[in-house]
């Protein structure tokens, strides 16, 4: 499935306008850094950009999506377009070296070459430094596109050598409205919209049983946290660990929990229209009366800390148990 220019323009009008100018005027920099939250269309835009540069029958600045170059970029078969993804946890030095070896040679078909590095923040320090040398001495027609969700984890030395394009997050309500049009129940729609920034991904999520189950478990855990702390540990042990297996899944689960606490704050501030778990509002109203704002803020900090620890290879079960104990400390 290839996404066309017009579709992406709705998401990221500013970025696409810049790319259109770049292509039209032929002023392509040697390195770009696409920065923005998950689901803001960074990869789609980078592929589109690649197609614009390589397309044979380019129409103004838009790729035709039908010529041999466009089709091969879509299928990953273009010999002069390279996409690097993290190999496991990180992008290894060997991957960057392979890329460098590739780019020390002339292009296969033309002299134009392009590489896209996904999750560029996950480069190991070694890898980043090898890339740096490469960014410093660009070949004439080589274009690099680095994608990252965590702009601040990139080396400054790399950022300073790239032209940075920021991808704005979509307003969650816009995504939720779109989901409701697709007959997704409103309480799911809003939650999915908060979790991801991509309409298609949100739609996929809200149709997924796993997501519904995840929401249920999070609510159960939340309820238990404020009733009976032993029960909360049981839920972690019996349900959470089984359900949230992958790191990304745990991350999403923690996000869901975080939104609950965020809702409490909104209720206390009287901004009930911003509440995500709208169907739970009466229950949340009760709780909001029993917890101080300071406590809620502390709990949110605990969850955010847990999210950060997740990236440092902590055992997920210990992580969750520690979190549960922390969330209950005040009780």
């Amino acid at each position: 499935m290839s996404i066309v220019w017009e579709q992406l323009e709705q998401y990221q009008p500013t970025v696409l306008k810049m790319i259109a100018k770049i292509v039209q005027k032929g002023r392509v920099a040697h390195a770009y850094l696409f920065e923005g939250q998950r689901g803001t269309g960074k990869k789609d835009v980078s592929i589109l950009f690649a197609k614009s540069l390589f397309c044979i029958n380019r129409n103004g600045y838009k790729p035709c999506n039908d010529c041999i170059n466009c089709r091969r970029i879509d299928s990953g078969n273009h010999p002069d377009v390279h996409i690097i993804e993290p190999d496991g946890q990180s992008i290894k030095k060997a991957q960057i070296e392979a890329l460098q070896a590739e780019f020390s040679k002339t292009g296969v078909e033309s002299n134009k070459k392009l590489y896209i590095i996904e999750h560029a923040d996950r480069m190991t320090v070694n890898a980043a430094n090898s890339l740096l040398k490469f960014l410093e001495e660009p070949n004439s027609e080589t274009v690099a596109i680095l994608l990252t969700e965590q702009y601040h984890r990139m080396l400054n030395t790399i950022v300073s050598r790239c032209q940075v394009l920021s991808f704005k997050p979509l307003p969650p309500n816009a995504i939720a409205d779109y989901l409701k049009e697709q007959h997704i129940p409103s309480h799911f729609a809003l939650l999915a919209a908060y979790v991801t920034n991509n309409r298609e991904h949100a739609l996929e999520l809200s149709r997924d049983d796993w997501f519904a189950q995840a929401r249920k478990i999070v609510l159960q855990l939340y309820e238990a946290l404020h009733k009976n702390y032993l029960q909360a540990l049981f839920i972690v042990q019996e349900q959470w660990i089984q359900h949230f297996v992958e790191k990304q899944q745990i991350d999403l689960g923690l996000d869901l929990l975080l939104y609950l606490y965020k809702d409490l704050i909104y209720i206390q501030l009287g901004e009930t229209e911003k509440v995500v778990y709208k169907d739970q509002i009466s229950y949340l109203n009760q709780l909001a009366l029993t917890l101080s704002q300071k406590r809620i803020a502390e709990n949110m900090t605990a969850i955010l800390q847990a999210k950060a620890r997740l990236n440092t290879n902590m055992n997920p079960q210990l992580l969750m148990e520690q979190l549960v104990l922390k969330l209950q400390e005040g009780d």
């Binding site: 990953g76 460098q100 020390s104 002339t106 292009g107 070949n139």
Partner: protein, 378 residues
């Protein structure tokens, strides 16, 4: 696409093109062999994007029908399976037919394979050959040139340009230079060409090694075409494409000393063996360094000393030693590789002092030379 082909020819071609296919490729289509059937014959292509090999099977050869084309067309088939399948088919002829959705049927006798293919349109385009700018070299000479230069390329990726061999074409002469910045190999050869063109390209050492493997030892001429980003070697039925290295090759002509202070002429074989013996102990040490000193009456002494192991001294009688006395140290490995690359029984080594690079050349042959940088010892 539909054609019937003699299995032997197909097997041979598939084996040839398989040499270019790597299992570790990031581009999915390159795991396949591209097959194109035209009225003239069948072309098979394999590639790992660095090198590409194309093999052509004509419709008939020496009045013998090899391929019967029923319907022209093209397809890409997974190399791993296709290679094994054609090798093991039962009968002498193979029928290959492409149906809808790139489903390919391979029939031989009563055996029938259905293999899922890929769209040939997705396959990388190889450069079009312009017949004007061709130059020709005999196959055996080309192999010798490769053997005499490619060993000296750098294996370190820090300066990628040095991992290739510099080929310069001017005045009907081909000059090949390889260096890893510690030693240099140079080889010149006359070429046959009709056009007065000038080229200066750098060919990856790996590609030349592969090329050398697929060439036979014949005196037939190889056509060589250099395009903007690829070089093509063309033999009777095989086309070998290689990408070039990007960047400018360092200017090396200044490195080669014009005059010399000490000239030594020795028998290459004896000298090689002496170095080999001296390096037996030196090899164990850190750097494999041997020392050469000139003595009276054309005697040269080769020695190496590794304090923790022991030492070796050997005297050999040279043909002649002219000029100043000299003591110099160098890497035995580089010297042995250089001697192996040179032809001829007598070689001349020209030194310009203990700290300057020295030249090794066969006597009476200006077409090849080896240059080695000495090692500083105290």
């Amino acid at each position: 696409m539909k054609f019937v082909i003699q299995r032997d020819y197909l097997v041979r071609s598939v084996q040839d093109v398989m040499k270019a296919i790597s299992s570790r490729t990031t581009i999915p289509i390159l795991t396949g062999i591209k097959i194109v059937a035209t009225e003239q014959g069948v072309t098979l292509t394999g590639s790992d994007s660095d090198i590409s090999i194309e093999s052509f099977i004509p419709v008939e050869e020496e009045d013998k029908v090899i391929v019967e084309i029923l319907e022209p067309g093209s397809i890409v088939l997974p190399a791993r399976f296709f290679g094994e399948i054609v090798k093991k088919l039962p009968k002498e002829t193979v029928e290959i037919e492409v149906q809808n959705q790139f489903l390919t049927i391979i029939r031989s006798g009563k055996a029938e394979f259905n293999l899922n293919g890929l769209d040939a349109e997705e396959y990388p385009r190889l450069p079009q050959i312009e017949e004007e700018n061709v130059f020709k070299i005999p196959t055996d000479l080309l192999k010798t040139i490769i053997r005499q230069t490619v060993f000296a390329v750098s294996t370190s990726e820090t300066r990628p340009i040095l991992t290739g061999v510099n080929w310069k074409v001017e005045n009907n002469e081909l000059i090949c230079i390889a260096t890893d910045s510690h030693r240099l190999a140079l080889r010149k050869a006359k070429i046959e060409t009709e056009s007065e063109v000038f080229y200066n390209v750098v060919i990856p050492g790996k590609s030349l090694n592969e090329l050398s493997k697929i060439l036979d030892d014949t005196t037939e001429l190889v056509d060589i075409v250099i395009t903007e980003n690829q070089i093509l070697f063309k033999t009777k039925h095989l086309l070998f494409f290689s990408r070039l290295l990007e960047g400018n090759y360092p200017e090396t002509s200044r490195l080669i000393p014009e005059d010399s202070k000490t000239d030594v002429i020795v028998n290459a074989k004896e000298f090689f063996q002496a170095i080999d013996r001296a390096s037996l102990l030196a090899r164990e040490g850190r750097n494999n360094v041997v020392k050469l000193s000139t003595l009276q009456d054309g005697v040269i002494e080769i020695s190496s000393n590794s304090p923790e192991i022991g030492k070796v001294i050997e005297e050999i009688q040279s043909e002649s030693v002219t000029g100043e006395e000299l003591k110099i140290s160098f890497s035995a490995k580089y010297m042995m590789e250089a001697l192996k690359a040179l032809e001829g029984t007598e070689i001349k080594i020209s030194f310009t002092g203990a700290m300057r690079p020295f030249l090794i050349r066969p006597i009476n042959d200006e077409s090849m030379l080896q240059l080695i940088l000495p090692v500083r010892t105290y």
